[in-house]
């Protein structure tokens, strides 16, 4: 355990710790960095959300009222990029920073200085991305999937900035992932064997491997876009012997594992919360670990299900269809295990549990529509319609984001040492639950009715449903300010929280640490039963 020496003793810290802003700029403490990640991701959630509000306002009625189509395309593009790379992924990294060391009995992350870097390059990446919106010609307008040649020959001049921003985000994610892997492999407290790791640690461990496997591929893809656009290569240009469909293969080779990067840690969170409020151990721990690993493995052989309409030989379509359908087996195992955990438990429904239950139901609905999308012949009808938009928002908003909310409520007492206002928490939950379904559920109908995605204007028959969807969108957006208010109120004036505010909670962070968790925890490793 060479790393113990990395951590200064309390005494030293008091002498050298800078105050004010510099404390945050220079910090190498996993709790500080975790908090910064979480606040950053919330800020990005609001920025990306504001763009979604612009999109929904334009789509409130048929016709072009507020924005012109080119700006609309920039909004859909940057909304997607910010939510994926700015909101969901940093939120998970923030949670990993806070929780992984506490859960495995480590004093800090293994590489604290790199940890500082991996956070602090993020604001620059997003400043560049957002600044590109104000350039002449506008920011990226080719969708977050940036299909060539729309993103090469036909893209705005700001594309270089987009590429640069993606590179920085990728570097940040890779550094974060390396840090998680080294921490988990090297800093587990004596006796904390792999099969004793909490599932959140397990899911993040697997996620981190996915990250280092696919983020470099994304970096390669954007680099090819860069050289195709500015340096005369023709990876994706048929004129020079390239192929635009190749771009989609490379992108989705990254893109599909990326989808699981954004959901596996959620599985870990739900697997912590459901047992806690069922007062009953998690059902099928080891099968959960194997299910997570097999989902991660399968994620590398399903990418072309995003591309069924590009024209593939039928053998390839069948292969990708079968592999994709297969993913529903381990995913199903997880859902069944959560239900079995609740079965014959002693359930209470505090806000974390409410979000967790909503996650299970709504994520499963997203899973069902995913299964429908996997069926190649019907995918020809669903592909690139609002049915797809509904599907991935169910998986990412009521999936990933709801699990992040659940995690925030669940661990907030441990982080802040104070209890949040349960009444406000429930208000936030019910407002979010109702509005998110008003927002996304009717999108299934829009898609089945034939409305393509990424259009700034639509035919008249879609008007009523779009109006309802927009109202849901505004309501969901506003509901999130309840959460912001609740968190601020909790930090400022919440009731002091006990070390273990949840009766059924288990794990080193609850059993071995007070609330709030001290700035330096587990400087001597805890004893593992």
């Amino acid at each position: 355990m060479s790393t113990i020496s990395d951590v200064h003793s309390d005494h030293e810290e008091h002498h050298h710790a800078p105050r004010g802003l510099m404390r945050w700029v220079l910090t190498t403490n996993h709790k500080d960095i975790g908090s910064m990640y979480l606040w950053f991701s919330f800020a990005m959630f609001i920025v990306g959300g504001a763009m979604a509000m612009i999109i929904r306002a334009e789509l409130f009625q048929p016709g072009l009222q507020l924005v012109e189509p080119n700006f609309f395309n920039q909004m859909t593009t940057v909304h997607g990029l910010i939510m994926v790379f700015g909101a969901v992924m940093p939120a998970f990294t923030g949670l990993a920073n806070w929780l992984v060391p506490m859960m495995i009995g480590a004093p800090d992350m293994a590489l604290p200085r790199m940890n500082n870097w991996s956070f602090w390059i993020l604001p620059f990446a997003f400043s560049i991305l957002l600044a590109s919106l104000f350039m002449e010609g506008g920011g990226p307008n080719f969708g977050w999937t940036f299909y060539a040649p729309l993103s090469t020959k036909y893209s705005p001049d700001s594309t270089a900035l987009f590429v640069f921003a993606i590179h920085i985000m990728g570097i940040s994610s890779i550094m974060g992932a390396i840090n998680v892997i080294v921490t988990i492999m090297n800093l587990r407290a004596p006796g904390m064997t792999y099969m004793k790791l909490p599932l959140f640690v397990w899911t993040w461990f697997i996620t981190a491997f996915l990250l280092i496997a696919v983020m470099p591929v994304l970096a390669g893809a954007v680099t090819m876009v860069l050289t195709d656009k500015y340096f005369g290569t023709s990876f994706f240009d048929a004129a020079g012997g390239g192929d635009p469909v190749l771009f989609q293969h490379i992108f989705w080779f990254f893109g599909h594992p990326e989808v699981y990067i954004m959901i596996l840690p959620s599985f870990g969170i739900i697997s912590a919360i459901v047992p806690a409020f069922s007062r009953k151990p998690l059902f099928g721990y080891s099968s959960m670990v194997y299910a997570t690993a097999s989902i991660a493995g399968l994620s590398f052989v399903v990418w072309a299900h995003h591309m069924f309409t590009t024209g593939m030989p039928v053998e390839a379509e069948l292969f990708f269809m079968f592999c994709t359908m297969l993913i529903s087996v381990p995913t199903g195992v997880k859902v069944f295990n959560w239900v079995a955990t609740m079965w014959k438990g002693s359930l209470t429904f505090e806000t974390p549990m409410l979000f967790a239950i909503a996650f299970i139901v709504l994520f499963t609905i997203g899973g069902f529509s995913g299964l429908m999308l996997a069926i190649t012949p019907v995918d020809f009808q669903y592909h690139d319609t609002y049915f797809v938009v509904a599907h991935f928002h169910y998986v990412l908003v009521t999936g990933a984001i709801f699990s992040i909310m659940a995690a925030a409520y669940y661990w907030l007492p441990k982080w802040s040492g104070r209890m949040y206002d349960e009444g406000l928490g429930r208000l936030h939950f019910w407002c979010s639950l109702v509005s998110v379904n008003v927002l996304f559920f009717p999108m299934h109908f829009l898609g089945l009715g034939g409305m393509p995605r990424r259009i700034p204007d639509y035919a008249l028959q879609f008007a009523d449903v779009n109006a309802i969807v927009s109202i849901g969108g505004f309501a969901f957006g506003l509901s999130q300010f309840i959460f912001l208010y609740l968190v601020i109120k909790c930090i400022r004036s919440g009731e002091p929280a006990p070390a273990k505010p949840w009766e059924g909670a288990e794990g080193l962070e609850w059993d071995n640490l007070p609330s709030p968790a001290p700035y330096h925890s587990f400087t001597t490793p805890p004893e593992i039963k």
Partner: protein, 376 residues
């Protein structure tokens, strides 16, 4: 309260009360394949519903009965290999049940038998081009909704955004093969009622086919983000019985040849400024304003302005060249193939004399022909 609801309904929904009914589900469509696809969609949907009812049923039963407030005492079981195996195998069997009909439908779609008619479908920003492979007939198909409808200056008509100037006409009961490609970015040709959606990739051809069962008008849209006006490139297919189709085809071919002959005559004609300017304005608004804007100012950094532009004020021949041949590697298309000689002459004249571009140049059909055959 009732009053409020009435007001709410009026405010939000009344303009669309008379619009086409929206289908809340996939439509069975008008081909054997699309009906099969619809059936498959419903099968999978019902299976998902059944699984959902079972799983969520168990969960909510537990939520209701095993709550602490009802005095539930937690059991301590947390493993059962038997149960785990069962709920791995059962979904697997269900999946096989889904995969069989899915594979059948997919293989039915891969029918390589010879087609009766071949249509070359070519997408470009933001219009479709259809060419009847065995006939002397090809045309562009552009959205027919007025931009004033889009911008709210005119009332939106019934098929707003889903109408085109020249629809694709096909016979029923014949195997029609589509060969898709694109001139610029990736587009996707989609008609829901045929269950045909295929990407048009620049430089490559893609194939799809259909046999339409019922005569009618079928509407679709481009389904792959293709730039600014992706939302404004609809597809309209009119399916006619064979005899009507043959008549239409004969008429169209004759008209197409007549138009080409007429074009030759135009070369000798000279048009007056008024005529050129008024026709030019119409053509400009239809074909150019989407990018260069009605006021000729373009969109800075995206589409160049024409007002005071070096092209519109400079050498006439260069200007004609750009309009006729397009500008490679940019969104500027070759309008030589899309517009007639008269329209080309008029729109170039208009661009050189509108918005304070006072060149005074009049461009005639023969000038355009001279550029088209520059080499001879």
């Amino acid at each position: 309260m009732g009053r409020w609801i009435q007001l709410l309904v009026l405010t939000f929904f009344s303009p669309h009360l008379f619009a086409q009914e929206m289908s809340f589900n996939l439509r069975p469509g008008v081909t054997a394949i699309s009906e099969q696809v619809y059936g498959l969609h419903m099968t999978i949907f019902y299976i998902c519903c059944a699984i959902g009812v079972l799983v969520f049923g168990a969960m909510f039963w537990s939520i209701y009965h095993h709550r602490k407030s009802k005095g539930a005492v937690p059991a301590q079981f947390h493993e059962s290999t038997k149960v785990e195996i069962i709920w791995t195998i059962i979904p697997f069997i269900i999946l096989i049940g889904m995969a069989i009909p899915a594979t059948k439908t997919l293989l039915a779609m891969e029918d390589p038998s010879d087609a009766d008619i071949t249509i070359q479908v070519t997408g470009s920003q933001w219009k479709w081009h259809y060419k009847y492979f065995d006939q002397d007939l090809e045309f562009y198909s552009v959205m027919a909704s007025d931009w004033d409808e889009v911008n709210g200056k005119l009332e939106k008509r019934k098929n707003y955004l889903l109408e085109v100037d020249h629809p694709l006409v096909l016979p029923i009961g014949k195997k029609v093969r589509f060969l898709m490609t694109s001139e610029d970015v990736i587009h996707s040709w989609w008609v829901p009622d045929f269950a045909v959606k295929k990407d048009a990739n620049p430089g490559f051809i893609n194939e799809a086919w259909t046999i339409i069962d019922k005569p009618g008008i079928y509407r679709g849209q481009c389904a792959e983000l293709c730039g600014k006006d992706h939302g404004f490139m609809p597809i309209v297919v009119i399916a006619k019985p064979q005899a009507e189709y043959d008549a239409w085809l004969a008429e169209k071919e004759a008209a197409y040849l007549a138009k080409q002959a007429q074009e030759l005559e135009l070369v000798a004609m000279t048009m007056q400024q008024d005529e050129l300017m008024s026709l030019g304005e119409k053509v400009y608004e239809k074909s150019c304003a989407a990018c260069h804007q009605v006021n000729g100012l373009g969109l800075p950094g995206v589409f160049p302005a024409l007002k005071d532009s070096p092209i519109a004020l400079g050498d006439v021949t260069k200007h004609i060249e750009v309009v006729v041949n397009g500008e490679p590697g940019t969104a500027m298309q070759a309008f030589g193939k899309q517009l007639g000689l008269k329209e080309l002459a008029a729109v170039i004249t208009y661009e050189r004399n509108a918005w304070g571009n006072d060149t005074g140049d009049l461009v005639q059909a023969k000038d355009v022909v001279a550029v088209q055959n520059a080499a001879q």
